[in-house]
Symmetry: C2
Subunit: 480 residues, 2 copies
């Protein structure tokens, strides 16, 4: 007999059919009611055992965590909270779960700390919270691809191992084939990288942008969606050493079109999840509600999770220039009362998380796109404005998250780009190919990067970025 | 005015509309006919300039490679091979391309060697061949996601940086934050990895399978699609040091279901490309035809590119046990006449590419799934058969490609798995979490890995794997 998923059975209207379903026992009550989950949905299906006619030894093996195969009849449910259940005719134990061993793990059905769940990351996907987060993550990923493919973008896999260290987005991990402390030296006594695997020093990419630009200037509209790396010793709830990034890049788009794209894109993927992950979002909304009850009233969110997602989808992002933002910040209460850790004094200051959150959460109370930042605090490849001191940069700021997107119109003028690189001591030989793109039919183009895990954080209402990726990589942690 | 893509204009039936289109000049003939391409399609649109009323200085700047913005009227085309063209009212040069500089590059419109194109990989996407390959690659990627998402699979991002070196699929690159040759030592004089970024030795993953298994045993059906790495010094047309791999893993699937999945999956993605990439495939089919004309008759393919794709979609893959395959090979002509480099003598021999190709290309003349390999030549995690000497492994072999897929039913029995690991000196502490999955509700499960670039090779008819990924990573090469 064909095996049905729990999701299929719960949606089925064909009552009285004989079914087979396989999954893991979440609970077994009164020697009678198995809550069976197979990961296809947050919901378990109730399987009712005829315990009087079932072997006692078998009943004893129906423990939380065990894998079972159940044959039975799909019937209307007598209980609350479910429309159908399975009247069991046969239970087969596929894999036991010793209750004493289970009691030592997070499979034990009770509330565990998120920290403990992290230590058992190989089992946490069998909990409701993590299976919901990971299904939403999967749906978001697909929405990303669907949005771009439907809008004429081509997916580009930019290299993970890079010979360039001029990407300028952060500290990089080294990649090597040398044995540790045994790299060969050349005649000058320096490390002879020509003998390493790639014949040169290589690193893990921090961004695929520069390579994506070369592809946009051929295919028109492209996007990347792949892992990127930062060797930064940041032990925060918002940073990972390995994370997934989405980077669209579009020929002929200026900064306004780039802002439009980022807003349209984010709204699309959130709407997709609202449409396709109803059960998981409702579960996560309740989880968040419970979590917030432990906080003081003032720190609780005014909106529920789903309300927050709807709010983003239904409202325009506020577009504010850096200069306007500085004016707002300079004159705001927390600045005047010296409540900010970094006081805003002068135009040119780099905005910290506290400032971004003030603008988004207190002042505008909606997602904000800041643009036209001082050139000094932004990367070399951003297009210089006519004023000579600002660049066509943009950051999309989200409540609770801070920077969700960072992007810019790119400097397409060869001479200006060369000057900028010279001023920053970036050797032209390093980026000859990047400069070439400005030599042969250069044009206005723009793009942005969106840290995928921050999007998952926002969408699921989780508060630690380690809880929205299967096996997080952070300082001192590469377990599993 | 809204800018239209070339693809939109060529498909438009709204004649006489005023349009704006931006792109790169592929050719400019008779001071009159611009062939304009923007990467949205393999086809260029013809833009007809009223040269008598156009400034001479401007006409001189309409060179191959230049970026231009064109306003005009969409009209029925007088020429052959296109239905519409643009009657130009205004040309704006966005970015020049100096003909003398262009002549030094592959942008020069003539036939270039693929090797030269590789050296200018940042420009090759502006050629017809590479833009077609990359659009097909993008479509294949999307088809992969669409297939799995429509079939109830969840996308899982397994870690790229791994602390485990027991994945057993090949040599690994090291990832470190230590300065080369300056790693600190502990009191015993050994490298003190506890001081490295992750507090231990780390590598780039060779496979996400083991982690994907842990997720399948919670979410049921999962797949990965991400970069994987091999530090092997293989300078062949079929190997990359960095490549993208697709790895589905399914709880409760046995090897038969796994074979069904691999066949169904491959047919779906090829059908998707046949349905969605007609123009690009026709171009690539012609390219291949031209290439094959330079070969002796005997080496030419009997089928055209599109015929080959249709053949795979329309026919069953032949399923053959390793033991049957050995019988066929032992008794085949090339073995008896000692034409094979490695003669097949005894059961247990590892099959080489020449044997796989004989089976697929000469004997069965269709994709072949070989299964039930000798345990000795396969990985530790594959399920041992009752005979005690074979494992539930499978390889899908393709004409011209060899191994497209490698997979297996996984060993779900804790005791058997532990024995296997002990025999191979794999420490249990390394894979405690992998073993845990067998302790708590273990069950039959299966999966496979498909090298994405090999799929792109087969689909596009290209012959070197370096030509189906934007920036290939191979021994001594990490340029761009």
């Amino acid at each position: 007999m064909k095996t049905s998923s729990v999701k299929e059975l719960l949606a089925s209207e064909k009552l009285l059919q004989e079914v087979n379903v396989k999954g893991w026992v979440r609970a077994f009550r009164s020697n009678r009611f198995i809550q069976l989950n197979d990961g296809s949905t947050i919901n378990s299906i109730q399987c009712v055992v005829d315990f009087e006619n079932t072997d006692e030894a078998l009943l004893k093996r129906i423990n939380t965590g065990a894998a079972v195969s159940i044959n039975g009849t799909l019937v209307e449910s007598q209980g609350k909270g479910q429309s159908v259940e399975v009247q069991v005719t046969n239970v087969e134990i596929l894999g036991d779960a010793d209750p004493d061993e289970v009691a030592k793990t997070i499979l034990q059905p009770k509330r565990h700390s998120l920290e403990l769940l992290r230590q058992q990351a190989h089992l946490r996907v069998r909990t409701n919270t993590f299976s919901a987060v990971m299904r939403v993550r999967s749906a978001l990923s697909f929405a990303v691809h669907q949005y771009f493919q439907q809008n004429g973008f081509y997916y580009v896999n930019t290299p993970i191992i890079t010979g360039s260290d001029a990407e300028g987005a952060g500290e990089m991990f080294r990649v090597t084939n040398f044995e540790t402390n045994k790299a060969p030296l050349n005649e000058e006594g320096e490390v002879d990288y020509s003998q390493d695997f790639f014949g040169k020093q290589t690193n893990l990419t921090v961004s695929g942008q520069l390579e994506a630009e070369t592809y946009a200037m051929g295919l028109g509209k492209v996007y990347t969606f792949g892992p990127t790396f930062r060797a930064e010793n940041s032990n925060t709830t918002r940073h990972l050493a390995e994370f997934w990034m989405i980077e669209p890049e579009v020929a002929f788009n200026d900064l306004d079109a780039n802002m439009d794209l980022s807003e349209d894109f984010i709204k699309y993927v959130l709407q997709y999840v609202l449409d396709n992950c109803k059960d998981d979002l409702e579960f996560l909304e309740n989880r968040l509600l419970q979590e917030e009850k432990t906080k003081p009233q003032a720190e609780r969110s005014e909106m529920s999770l789903i309300e927050k997602l709807r709010f983003v989808v239904d409202n325009n992002f506020k577009r504010v220039s850096y200069t306007e933002a500085i004016d707002i910040l300079r004159n705001c209460k927390p600045n005047k009362k010296k409540k900010f850790q970094y006081l805003i004094d002068e135009w040119g200051a780099d905005l910290q998380s506290e400032h971004e959150r003030y603008l988004v959460e207190k002042h505008f109370k909606c997602p904000v796109i800041l643009f036209d930042y001082p050139a000094k605090i932004k990367a070399f490849y951003m297009r210089l404005n006519e004023d000579g001191k600002t660049v066509r940069a943009m950051d999309v700021l989200f409540p609770g998250i801070g920077e969700m997107v960072g992007g810019s119109q790119r400097e397409e003028r060869l001479d200006v780009l060369k000057e900028k690189m010279a001023a920053l001591d970036i050797p032209e030989e390093e980026l000859w190919w990047y400069l070439d793109i400005r030599k042969f039919g250069t044009a206005v183009h723009s793009g942005f990067g969106l840290g995928f895990e921050r999007l998952v954080l926002f969408t699921t209402g989780m508060s630690n970025i380690r809880d929205v990726i299967p096996y997080p990589r952070t300082p001192q942690n590469a377990e599993f």
